[in-house]
Subunit: 207 residues, 2 copies
Amino acid sequence: MVESKNKVRRVDALSKDRIVLAAVEILDASGEGGLTTRSLAASLNTGSGAIFHHVGSRDELLRTAVDSVIADVTAGMAHEGTPEESIRMLMLGVFDAIQAHPWVGAQLAREPWQPALLEIFFEIGSRLQLLGVPEAELFDAASTLLGYLLGVASQHAAAVNLSRNTDRANRRASSDHPFAPHVTRLADHDDRVQFVAGVEIILAGIA
Amino acid sequence: MVESKNKVRRVDALSKDRIVLAAVEILDASGEGGLTTRSLAASLNTGSGAIFHHVGSRDELLRTAVDSVIADVTAGMAHEGTPEESIRMLMLGVFDAIQAHPWVGAQLAREPWQPALLEIFFEIGSRLQLLGVPEAELFDAASTLLGYLLGVASQHAAAVNLSRNTDRANRRASSDHPFAPHVTRLADHDDRVQFVAGVEIILAGIA
DNA sequence: ACCTGAACACCGTTCAAGT
DNA sequence: ACCTGAACACCGTTCAAGT
């Protein structure tokens, strides 16, 4: 048997892609606090130092993980329907991604110069241009939509972290968090509706 | 001399207020990363464990520090001028506070259920009511303004952190004194103008 | 070249011991 | 009652040593 040209590499071969994939899995399962050098190394069956051969730092890993999620969103996104519908779809796409991966929201708010966010900014801008927004107003309009998106993103990320923590606390004892009743999460659907309402308000203010 | 009713306590007596005050000073000077149990204890000339006699945790301390800053903003705030002017002033007041204390922006985005933010939300709501916004639209309108405020807040906080880090990297070789507070923003005024532009857009969309 | 895992310099928090 | 500061259980990152 000839094995020298075997395309199937060892399953346990480490690479940046495999590390990012494992990191996303951990982040989805247990939040940003759950991603440590050691937990990641354990899930990859390797030593804790091995990761730094492929990724410069934990921050860079987090950035790359966010970029990979956002890239998936913008990839399948076309300029469909009216410009307004197209903007709504773009905003909702990012919103849904954050709902599925709350740590993305926290990270986008923490590092707004991330490549992922710059791309979203330009996607918004080009659609506003199609909408007929004058060149002079374009920057402010796109900034407002992006600012709103970031704000909601961080709110959502925080709410999920809170419910994660209170869940944990409630399991520990029956003592309840003083603010827990005020912040009980509404249905996901209501979040979406409320988010769109905000987008609608801003669009009305632009046009 | 009667000393039993002496109001002037020992200068080195520890209290929650003094701890929060010292924490704000450190946060302003060196950002959230600069506030550690040990640095705070050192600045108060006490042991690292003493802090936990007055404050439950680092997170609670951060929360209290943010509340104290925001309370200063809303305290001197009246319903002056037209409702629209009043909203602009409220939003700008918080914006300016975040500009002066960037760590506040990051913390507000991280914990949006903070008492400080709830208060801002209600302040916005009452002004929108005066503006004549129908009851049914009030929640969405206030949420949009607050969401935008949070987004800009976190962006601003992140930008300051970025320039702090690059400053530090640039100064790597030369002798640097530990006090490096003056992170000169390139265009504070432009930031303000852009922020108001966003508020204007949203207000236009509401009315 | 890639990986290991002990070691380093931190961190927040606790707690027996002091005053 | 309040404070001390060593100790504990972590953390990200490094690096001599292995393969």
